[in-house]
């Protein structure tokens, strides 16, 4: 049984006036096993973000199913969806989405506070995570006082602190320079090696080459997927860029 199952997902947007329909996702199916690090690639407009929003329960699919550990996302009531999101999903965004009103520490605590955890238990959870992410020194600072890479690490800490079943990352390296990107990706690999499942949307081949599997999406469908296998990062990177070239040239599978 897979951790995450996506079956025949379809999403149609209707423009408000005129009723013109846009098909963002045609028919997407894939599975993510526990402990996997999956990257989803595709050009802008390919439906990546739509897919991620549906997986995050921020948006509803027109048809098809998303099953996370035996739970059908479409079956969860509107009321419980926020709790579900809080308990099962961790998010890392391109723009970090840290709140400037909170210190780094409070930003990381946010999901736990919302879940009504005690300060002591939050504290004991934070200490190891902060140490692993190398942000122990920054906890009392405010987001505007730290660099982009540090902000993103804080965001990762916020995603990890709830022990989510899966981390959903939306272009996590998009706003970072190459050094900070490398650091973050190493962190992802590290976290993944300890058993954390990660699903990352990206258009950077470099980022994708850290994953154990890459799914390519084109025109609202899974176009192709490749596994890392035993190959090195460089090998995998090579394979990814080749596939991307194929993708843009409009070739068939």
């Amino acid at each position: 049984m897979s951790l995450l199952e996506v079956k025949n997902l379809k999403k149609i947007y209707k423009t408000r006036f005129g009723g013109q329909e846009v098909e963002a996702l045609k028919d997407v199916s894939f599975e993510v096993e526990e402990g996997e690090f999956v990257a989803i690639m595709g050009e802008s407009g390919s439906g990546k973000t739509t897919l991620l929003n549906i997986l995050a329960a921020l948006d509803k699919a027109t048809a098809g199913k998303v099953i996370l550990k035996d739970m059908d996302l479409s079956g969860i009531s509107e009321k419980k969806i926020a709790t579900f999101r809080r308990d099962n999903l961790g998010f890392v965004f391109q723009e970090f989405n840290l709140l400037d009103t909170f210190s780094i520490e409070d930003n990381i605590f946010l999901p736990l506070v919302l879940a009504g955890k005690s300060y002591k238990s939050m504290r004991s959870k934070l200490t190891p995570i902060a140490a692993r992410l190398g942000i122990s020194e920054l906890l009392k600072k405010y987001p505007y006082e730290v660099s982009g890479g540090q902000k993103q690490r804080a965001a990762v800490a916020r995603a990890l602190i709830t022990d989510p079943k899966i981390i959903l990352a939306d272009e996590p390296t998009g706003a970072l320079d190459s050094r900070a990107s490398d650091e973050l990706l190493r962190l992802f690999v590290d976290v993944n090696s300890m058993g954390q499942t990660i699903l990352m949307v990206t258009h950077s081949a470099k980022a994708a080459s850290c994953a154990s599997r890459v799914l390519f999406i084109k025109d609202g469908e899974v176009f192709h997927q490749i596994y890392r296998g035993e190959g090195t990062n460089d090998n995998f990177y090579q394979k990814i860029t080749e596939t991307l070239t194929l993708l843009t040239q409009g070739g068939n599978r």
Partner: protein, 683 residues
Amino acid sequence: MKTFFYPKLAWDGIRKNKRMVFPYILTCICMISMFYILSFLASPNTTSLLPRGADTTCLVMTLGCVVIAVFSVIFLYYTNWFLLRRRAGEFGLYNVLGMNKGNLVRIITLETIITSAISIFFGILVGIVLSKLAETGLIKTIGADTNYSFRVEPFCVALTVLFYVAIFALIWLSSVIKICRNSAVSLLKSDKAGEKVPKANWLLGILGAVILGIAYYIAVYIGDPVSAIVWFFLAVILVIIATYLLMIAGSVLLCRILQKNKKYYYNPRHFVSVSSMVYRMKRNGAGLASIAIIATMILVMISSAFSLWFGTKDMIEARYPADINFTFRFEESQGLDEERLNNLRKAFEDFREQNGAETKTVADMCYWEASCLVQDNKLCFFSDFPEITDFEKLRDLKIVPVSSYNMYTGKNVALDDGEAMVFSSLDMDYETVELTVGSLTESYKLVDAGEDEFFISGYVSNVLPQMIVVVPDFIRVSDSITQVLNEEEGAYYNYEWHYDFDLLNSSMSKLDYAMEVKAAVSEAMVNDPEIADKSYLYFDEREYDGAEIMAFNGSMFFIGVILSVVFGFAAVLIIYYKQISEGYEDSKRFEVMRKVGMTAKEIRKNINSQLLVVFFIPLLFAGVHLAFAFPMIGKILNLFGLFDKGLFITTTVISYLLFAVFYAVVYKVTSNVYYNIVSNTKE
């Protein structure tokens, strides 16, 4: 096409920001129309419609004009700064896209011309339409007859237009300076500037609390009404400073203390609201403080205006106890000889009979009056205290013969030699009372005066608290004190006789009757050589002289209401802008929280508690300010002749409650705007 490019851009700028600009224009219209109306009311053509007190009304209205003028400058400058800050990004973008500063200035100039033209045109229009209503209202308030002709005062129109054109020019200049001084990039970023979380500043917070304490102390412990006015202004300034300090630094401090309490802070209900309050207070503390101060001003004005107005009838009756009130003032006690007084009474009586009128005597009493200082049970006179250091102990002393007391009250009190009754606004818990001047000391044993109050109406009593000593040997004691006082120069004292009566039935008007009876009585006095050039008499006719009080109170009432409307408008606008700007800020924040797993309900709850706290802080502050200002305003109202504390308490409480309702409604309406902004960006 090209010629219309900039006007079109300017018009678009206004249209796209109508959420901001429309209320701004509305407030401008309100201020301009009120300015016109007040200048209209101050104009001679309006005041000439008043029976009396035209000068008073003109003065009060002119002062009101000045207040609105000053307030307009500050307030419009502030709002424009706010608008500009929100739009700086737009201008920055134009700049980056290739417009030079000159083009930007051109857009701003066109926009200013459009908004100010609309504001001034409609402001004057509304002013003209409402001016007749205001005039009728004022005249009805003062209690005179009004005509129904409609007119426009060209001078007032010109004044208003010129003044507001000047203000808008000033605002335009400041905008241009801001745009020219800043680079494109800093303009682009300026609506995001200042996002730092403020550090708690202990010093400022404590300073604010201390200043507020001092101001409150002054307000509560200032004794006499004369110095109250001076101290009042000091207290007002201190309160304003303290409010700003407390709102900006103190509230951050408070939230920081809350944050220190982990159990309280890390609670889903407080977590978000406390942190955003800290974040918000410093930047918006100034806004909140402004709201609190404006709210206090409105409350003070409304409550005192209504008190004065509702108290007018009582004030007039206290000052003029009867229809016609005669006062005879003599330099020596012989003026108060019973025989001489009987002659005067007879003169009144003869005149009444000649004219077939009917009168009813309200007061007929003699007294000796001077100012004195109270020290324990000693009453000392001025000559012993050339330098007055303690205003609070000053009293308007009246020594009254027991016969006058009995005649006035209808009682039959008998005082033995050396016995006296004292009536004072302050308790005299002593066995004896001593009147001392120089080496002379007159000592009396105090007799219980019972529960009834005794008060003599007159001018001086309006300023100093009255102290009445009823004695059996009136002439002897007052003469001996006078004798000592006369050894010094500039001693001030009077022997007076009050004769007040109602005119029940007469063919003459009250004023005519009073004037004619005065002539008749004067003749009787002139014929009495012993007092002829050592006496003075005058009268007050309640309707005629009361009209002055009526005009003053009516004008004050009217101005209080008008200024409250203007300030109310301003407060609403500040609240509205706060909601809008916070809405835009918070929409991003709540979006993040939603992604992290906050339910829409939790978000709404959070918003509610946050808004509630933040918006009711000013109301709370205003209430506390008002409570502490209360004794001081009460004393100033004493100066105007209003002594009815109960009335003042009632109007204050009612004004506060009404204002709270008004505030809640404004809060509700504007928070809907906030919700809309926050939830719109969610989808």
